[in-house]
């Protein structure tokens, strides 16, 4: 999977201008491909859902291109049903068009950049499909269509390769199903946001049922601390072995360790105490405040419903006899401030004061 990007040789065949079907100057300049893990996971999922009689499945790749077309980033993909026999291959083109439209509605920036297949071999059918994707009109013309193959045979390594194509062929009739696939370097980029998700997903890989509960922050912290402790343990064992002359010293490692340990700051104990106390107080204060607010709102919500058991309900038909007493009770019951009018007014005032103080 890790193609060493330094060792790529880019071969581009010179294009004969006229007799070949694509009259244009399709670009065969070098292209680097960045693959987003989401697309890769989606391809793997599709491969595991393929119909039983098919060996490989194909789909479309969506993504973005840089301005000059040399960098392509693949960020999404979807599957396209196709059937393949020994003699011919059929791809559902309407499906591909319609899905492309639907996807473009949700994410207008992600355009068609190529296609993928879940087996590593390249054959005539691949060439046919590649030409279809690279054509004018609905394809990626004038940019080359990127072809991504992901080997998904059980038991073997999952290998991804990316190619662009150049036309090749002896005669004009054979040009449509012949293609020279030029490998291009690719890289799987994991951005920061995916890291936390990846960590959890990777945590499930060693378990029997391949599943993992979502963990709370405290549990993640515990795991991280344990990992650091383990690493420190290994390093300190190595250093003590070197001091006892049981293992070979290495100047580079020693230098690296020295650089790292010198990063520990040299500080004044009083400053540390002060900062520490300040921060602890901040955190505790916010925690206390938020719990107080929660309690207060809970209380006010309960008063709304509880207070009304004392007076007649709202909007009750006015009975002439009740007069002033009824009025007092309704005013007290309203606003959720409390049972009797006077007490209700005061506790309401206290609530408003609290709110105002916090806003200041």
């Amino acid at each position: 999977m890790a193609g060493d990007p330094k060792n790529y040789l880019h071969l581009a065949r010179p294009l004969a201008p006229a007799p070949i079907a694509t009259q244009s100057s399709a670009v065969t300049a070098p292209v680097t491909v960045t693959l987003h893990p989401q697309a890769l996971f989606s391809i793997l999922d599709h491969a595991s859902r393929r119909p039983a009689d098919q060996d490989r499945v194909i789909g479309t790749l969506l993504g973005t291109r840089s301005e000059d077309g040399t960098e392509v980033s693949i960020s999404n993909c979807y599957a396209v049903p196709h059937t393949e026999t020994a003699e011919q291959v059929e791809v559902d083109m309407d499906y591909q068009k319609r899905m492309l439209e639907l996807h473009l509605r949700a994410a207008p920036k992600e355009v068609l950049v190529g296609w993928y297949a879940t087996s590593g071999d390249l054959n005539t059918f691949s060439a046919l499909i590649q030409n279809f994707y690279g054509q004018q009109g609905e394809g990626t013309w004038p940019h080359p269509a990127v072809h991504l193959t992901v080997g998904t045979k059980a038991g073997q390594d999952i290998e991804a390769n990316t190619y662009i194509s150049a036309p090749i062929g002896v005669t004009a009739e054979r040009a449509a199903d012949s293609c020279l696939f030029i490998p291009v370097p690719h890289e799987i980029k994991y951005d920061d946001a995916s890291k936390s998700g990846l960590e959890l997903i990777a945590g499930a890989r060693d378990r029997e049922d391949r599943s993992q509960f979502l963990q709370t922050d405290v549990e993640m912290l515990e795991r991280a601390v344990e990992q650091v402790l383990e690493m420190l343990e290994r390093v300190s064992n190595y250093v003590s072995d070197v001091l006892d002359e049981e293992r070979e010293p290495s100047t580079a490692l020693g230098q690296f360790l020295l650089n790292t340990l010198s990063l520990a700051p040299k500080v004044n104990p009083e400053d540390i105490e002060k900062d520490f106390n300040n921060h602890i107080q901040d955190v505790l204060l916010v925690s206390y405040l938020s719990n107080t607010i929660r309690t207060q709102i809970d209380l006010s919500n309960r008063l709304v419903t509880a207070a009304l058991t004392m007076g007649p309900g709202d909007g009750a038909a006015a009975t002439a006899g009740e007069g002033g007493e009824g009025k007092g009770q309704r005013e007290g019951g309203g606003g959720g401030r409390g049972g009797r009018g006077g007490r209700g007014g005061r506790s309401g005032q206290a609530g408003r004061d609290q709110g105002r103080r916090e806003e200041q």
Partner: protein, 377 residues
């Protein structure tokens, strides 16, 4: 928590999410941050477990398109981008979009049952009218076993994935059906803001192919059992065998950053408090105007009675005393739903702060113990 509605009340007890869905939600939410991102979930329900196997985002069109294309009489016409994407899960256009997507996905053997929707939020501010309406729309629909997944973008970037699953409790759904949240109905149903949501536990599940991929992802294990020592410091940094590997332990959770979190939380709390006071003011305004109307009605009634007495003495026909119902209009009581939602939101913030507190105190004591060795905290 002891006060939360029991999970046993709901037909679904737990959620299983495929790794693919997690990655897709993360990517969609982070690319459209700070606007909330919404999308549809598909999967299957097996007994009391709901499995989510794929997802796709809802299109939330730009305000410019919206003005030219959609009909302003459409009840879901929104002009603000954030409100647009929040309204998307229950909009008619999204329903047709989702139906079409699901139809096409079925052809490639993806599960074709819609099982809910997801949205992204920041620092836990997802409790709102729109959220409740979306989930009610799904729970009222043809399939009742649906769930809302909420992904918190800001908290996940600080180390651990923050994904929660919610359903509306049956009590709340019953109250929402009448859409009457006046004080009497709340009193009768004893609905509290803690009762609105049921939170469900989530597990992440990987397929076999994915598991083999994960095992293979760090570069192939080195051929020798013990690596040679690097010859120089520069080589140490560039050696591919020990270069950073995406599955290396994510030590960002050990970062100590206190103030930004506290500031944001207090800002959000203030907003909630302001909403709360607005609602309270509305309620008390209503009470006052109701009381005024009542006094006016009473006065009119007394006048009528006096007149009737006079007329009785003069042997004239009596005027009806019920006319006050036609002459005076009682003000409408404002709904208490917002108050309850604000309460729930505040509770969410308070829980977050408590969780943060636990983690941060541990880290701070650790740092302090390191920098001041020998002192026992």
């Amino acid at each position: 928590m002891a006060t939360d509605p029991k999970i046993a009340d709901s037909p679904i007890r737990e959620i299983q999410v495929e790794a693919l869905v997690v990655m897709r939600i993360i990517k969609h939410s982070t690319t459209s941050f700070p606007t909330p991102a919404t999308g549809c979930l598909v999967g299957m329900d097996i007994g009391s477990q709901l499995q989510i196997t794929n997802s796709f985002p809802f299109p939330a069109s730009n305000p410019e398109n919206q003005q030219t294309n959609s009909n302003p009489a459409d009840p879901y016409h929104q002009s603000d981008q954030a409100a647009l994407s929040l309204a998307a899960p229950r909009a008619k256009s999204s329903a047709t979009y989702a139906g079409e997507m699901i139809k096409y996905l079925r052809e490639v053997n993806v599960d074709a049952q819609g099982v809910g929707w997801y949205m992204s939020c920041s620092m836990g501010n997802f409790v709102s009218q729109a959220f409740v309406e979306n989930q009610a729309f799904y729970q009222r629909g043809s399939e009742e076993k649906t769930v809302a997944l909420v992904f918190d973008v800001s908290r996940s970037s600080q180390g651990s994935l923050n994904l929660k699953a919610y359903r509306l409790s049956p009590n709340f759904m019953a109250a929402l059906k009448d859409n009457k949240f006046s004080t009497e109905s709340i009193q009768k149903s004893k609905l509290r803001y803690q009762d609105i949501f049921i939170e469900l536990p989530i597990t992440i599940h990987n397929s076999h192919l994915l598991t083999s991929f994960l095992h293979q992802m760090p570069a192939a294990p080195p051929q020798k059992s013990a690596l040679d020592f690097p010859a120089s410091l520069a080589e140490l940094h560039h050696d591919p065998n020990i270069a950073t590997n995406p599955l290396a332990p994510n030590l960002e959770s050990l970062d100590l950053s206190i103030d930004p979190f506290l500031e944001k939380t207090t800002d959000l709390m203030l907003e909630s408090i302001e909403q709360h006071t607005t609602e309270q003011n509305n309620a008390s305004y209503y009470q006052r105007s109701l009381a005024r109307e009542q006094t006016k009605i009473k006065q009119w009634q007394e006048k009528r009675k006096a007149e009737n007495v006079l007329r009785g003495q003069q042997k004239q026909p009596l005027l009806p005393e019920d006319e006050w119902q036609k002459l005076f209009k009682l003000p409408v009581e404002p709904s208490r739903l917002e108050l309850m939602l604000v309460g729930r939101q505040v509770e969410q913030y308070a829980r977050q702060v408590d969780g943060f507190n636990a983690v941060v105190s541990g880290k701070m004591f650790g740092v302090r113990g390191n920098l001041l060795p020998g002192e026992i905290a």
